[in-house]
Symmetry: C2
Subunit: 424 residues, 2 copies
C-alpha cells in the first residue's frame, strides 16, 4: 500500500486495525531481544567439540609449550589459518585473545599514545578525525569518540562508502587519521565493498602520512548462501598502490566458533606488525595460546573454517528469510519501509519513513521487543533522518522471530500512519 | 673465605682453580636459562585436567551462556574464588584474560589517557612519576617508562620498601601518581611486606589525590613451605584509613594453573571498578568466559587453589634448596656474595660484590647459562652498585640446576677475585 496516497479516512481505519493488533500483542507479555548480533545456542553447539578437543591432542613440548609463557604474536597453526583466510603472509598475522574489538581499541589507543611508526602521537595533535561510513557499527564509533576523536559521517551506497566524498576529505585534511570499515557484509547494511572502492581506498591521496584504514573484516567467511560475495584483498591493493602500511586488518573467530572464547586477529604489513609489537611487548607476555592451539586443532585449516560456516548458514539463513518474507509481504511496494537483503553477515538494515524510527523503537520496546537503539548505527548516536533500524535475527528462535516480526510490522505501520496523518 | 683478606698469592691460586673449572664447563656446551620465573613442565602437568574439564560439566545456559558475548566483569564463580583469596567482595573483582601484566598496562594507560575518577589525564600533566621499590620486577618498570613516566628508585629492606623515604616523597610531590608493589614474596627479594608497611602505604598523606598503589599480588598463594607468610589486607587498611580508592590490586592464576592460559584479576573499591568499567566497556565485550568457567570448575574454591599450590611447592622447593645449599657451601661466611632465602615466590635474589654483577653475567652467558640481565631488577636497567642478580630456579630440571650452580659459583669467584686483585 502507498500509505501517503491514502485518504485520512482510510489511514484512520488502517491505524485502528494495527492498534488492535498491537493491543493484543501487548497482553502476551513478550520479551524478545533482536538488538545484537549474537549467535544462538544451536550455533554455539557447533563448536562444543572445541571445549574438549585437547583430550586427544599431543601438546607441543619444550619452548613451544603452549601452556607456558611467551609467544607474543600467537600460536603458529592459528596464525596460518588466519593468513590463509585473509590472503597475507603468516609473518603479517598476530593472533590474540577473544576480542577483535579489544585489538581495535588497543590499536587506536596506541596511535593516540605513541603515534604510528614514529609519527606524532595523536594525543598531541589539536584535532584528530575519523571517517565513519554510515550506517555502521556502533562499537567502532564509540571507541573513537571515547578518545575525543571527531567522527565524520560519510554515507554508504551498495558498493560501499561514497568514495568521491572520502577522497576529497582525506586529500586536504591531515587531521583525518583513519576510517572504520566493515568491508564484507557490512554491519548493518550487508554491503560488500566493490573492487573499485577497495582500490580507491588503497590508492587515494591522504594528507596524513599516518592515515590508517581500520579494516574490520568481521564477516570474512560469513556467507548466508552457497555463493560467497568476493572481497578484493586490500593489503595487496595497498601494496600495489605504494601504500603497504595503510591498512590494519582485523577479524576473529567470534562468529565462527565462540564469541565468549574465540581468537581475534590483527594483520598488517610486516613493518606495521613490527611497530605494534614494539609497544605490545610492554603490555603482555602473550595471549591465551592454549585456546589458540585448541582452535587450530578444531578448525584444521581455512577449509575447515568454511565447512563450519556452512553449518552456521544453515541455522541462521531461515531466520533471515522469515523476516525478509514478512517484510516483503507487508511492505513490498509500500512507501513507508525499505530494507537490505543481505547475502551474509548478521544484520538486516531496515529503513522506515523518515522521522519514524524512534517512534517504532518505542512502540516495539513497550511491547517487549528490544531492537538496536535508533541512532546507534550512526556516529554520536545521531540518525538525522530518524529512519534506520538494525535487525539482528540470529539469536532468537523461529517462534520468537514470528512474534518479533508481528510487533515490528504493526509498530512500523502505527508510527508511519500517525506521522502521515500529522503531516497532512 | 674472606676473599678481600687474602694475599695476592692466594687469590692468584684461587683464580687459577676457578678458571680451570670454568674451562672444563665451557667444553660441555651447556645451554641453560634461569632468567625468567617460568613454571616447569611438571608444574604445568598439574593443570592438565583443566584442558578437558568441560567434557563433564553442564555449561550455564540462557543469558549466562559462557560461550556467548557479554559479561564484562567476568564469570561469577571465578570472581568468587579471587574475592575469597584477596579478601574483598565479589563486586570488587574483575576476572580477565590470561595476563595480569596486560591489566596493569591497561590500567596505567587508562590513567594516562582518561585520568582517575575524573582527575586530569596523566598525559596532560607536565610530569608523572612512579615509585619503584628496588630491586623489583623489570616488567613493571618498563610499563611505566614506556609511557614516559619518571621512575623513582626506593630501596627495600626485609619489611618492604623504605617507608620513611616514600612518605616524604609522596607528601610533597603531586606528580608522584603511583607505586609498584609486589607485596608478597616480592620479585626478586622474596620479602613480604610487614603489617606496618601495608598500613603506612594505606594511610600515608599523598599530595596527588589520584595516587594509586599498583599492588601486584602475583605470589599471593605461592608458598614454598607449609607455613604461609601472612600479608595484611591492604584494601581493608586503605578503607580504614579513609582512602578506600587508593589501591588497584592484581593477581592471576598464571603460576597456579597455566601461564599461557590462566585467568588474571583486577580488584579494587566498588568506585574504582565502576570508574574502570566506564572505559573498558568501549574496549571489549568481555573476556574469555569459557576459560574462566573451566578454571572455576577445576579449582573449585580458594581451598582448591591452596591444594594445588602445595603440589607446586613440592616440585619447586627442592630446586630452591639445591641452589641455596650450594650458595651456603660455597659462599657461607664469604665476603663476596649474599642472597635471599625466600619462603615463597619464584626467585632468589643474589648479590655479588659491588661492581661484579655484569662480569658474572658475561661469564655465565659465555658458558651457556642465561641469567636475568643485570640491571633489569632496577628502574631504567640501572643497578648502580652492579651487584644484584636474579635467579629463577623453577623452569630448569635438577640436573641442569647443578650445572647452572657450578657455572654461577665459578663465575662469581672469577669476577670477584679479579676485581679484588685489580683494586689492590
Amino acid at each position: 500500500m502507498k500509505y501517503r496516497e491514502q485518504t485520512i479516512e482510510t489511514l484512520k481505519k488502517e491505524l485502528k486495525i494495527e492498534k488492535d493488533i498491537y493491543d493484543t500483542v501487548l497482553k502476551e507479555g513478550i520479551n524478545i531481544d533482536i538488538s545484537r548480533g549474537k549467535p544462538c545456542s544451536e550455533q554455539l553447539d557447533l563448536s562444543n567439540e572445541l571445549l574438549t578437543i585437547l583430550k586427544d591432542c599431543a601438546l607441543p613440548t619444550g619452548p613451544a609449550d603452549v601452556r607456558n609463557y611467551g609467544g607474543l604474536q600467537g600460536v603458529l597453526p592459528m596464525r596460518e589459518i588466519f593468513a590463509d583466510l585473509l590472503g597475507v603472509k603468516v609473518s603479517q598475522v598476530m593472533a590474540g585473545d577473544n576480542s577483535s574489538l579489544n585489538m581495535m581499541y588497543d590499536s587506536v589507543q596506541r596511535c593516540m599514545q605513541f603515534g604510528v611508526m614514529g609519527s606524532t602521537p595523536w594525543n598531541k595533535l589539536e584535532k584528530v578525525k575519523f571517517i565513519c561510513p554510515s550506517p555502521g557499527y556502533d562499537r567502532h564509533f564509540t571507541v573513537t569518540s571515547a578518545f575525543g576523536i571527531e567522527l565524520i559521517t560519510v554515507p554508504m551506497d551498495n558498493e560501499g562508502p561514497i568514495m568521491d566524498v572520502i577522497e576529497s576529505l582525506v586529500k586536504s585534511d591531515d587531521s583525518i587519521k583513519g576510517i572504520w570499515c566493515v568491508p564484507k557484509y557490512s554491519n548493518p547494511t550487508g554491503v560488500t565493498y566493490s573492487d573499485a572502492v577497495v582500490d580507491r581506498l588503497a590508492s587515494m591521496e591522504c594528507a596524513a602520512s599516518d592515515f590508517r584504514i581500520f579494516w574490520d573484516n568481521a564477516y570474512a567467511v560469513h556467507d548466508l548462501y552457497e555463493d560467497s560475495t568476493p572481497l578484493k584483498n586490500i593489503y595487496d591493493s595497498c601494496d600495489n598502490a605504494g601504500n603497504p602500511n595503510r591498512v590494519y586488518m582485523f577479524t576473529s573467530t567470534s562468529k565462527i566458533t565462540l564469541p565468549g572464547a574465540g581468537v581475534a586477529c590483527f594483520a598488517s604489513s610486516d613493518a606495521n606488525i613490527k611497530d605494534v609489537l614494539e609497544i605490545i611487548k610492554y603490555q603482555t607476555i602473550g595471549p591465551n595460546k592454549v585456546n589458540q592451539f585448541a582452535h587450530a586443532q578444531f578448525l584444521g585449516n581455512a577449509d575447515g573454517v568454511r565447512a563450519i560456516m556452512k553449518k552456521h548458514a544453515d541455522i541462521i539463513r531461515p531466520k533471515f528469510q522469515a523476516i525478509l518474507n514478512v517484510l516483503e509481504d507487508e511492505f513490498g511496494g509500500s512507501d513507508i519501509a525499505s530494507w537490505s537483503k543481505p547475502l551474509g553477515g548478521y544484520f538486516i538494515s531496515y529503513d522506515v519513513m523518515n522521522g519514524c524510527a524512534k517512534r517504532v523503537y518505542e512502540l516495539c520496546k513497550n511491547a517487549g521487543l528490544v531492537i538496536t537503539t535508533v541512532g546507534d548505527t550512526f556516529p554520536y548516536g545521531r540518525d538525522d533522518k530518524d529512519s534506520n533500524i538494525r535487525i539482528a535475527p540470529t539469536f532468537t528462535n523461529t517462534n520468537e522471530l514470528d512474534k518479533a516480526c508481528k510487533i515490528l510490522v504493526c509498530s512500523t505501520k502505527i508510527a508511519c500512519i500517525e506521522k502521515i496523518m500529522a503531516d497532512k
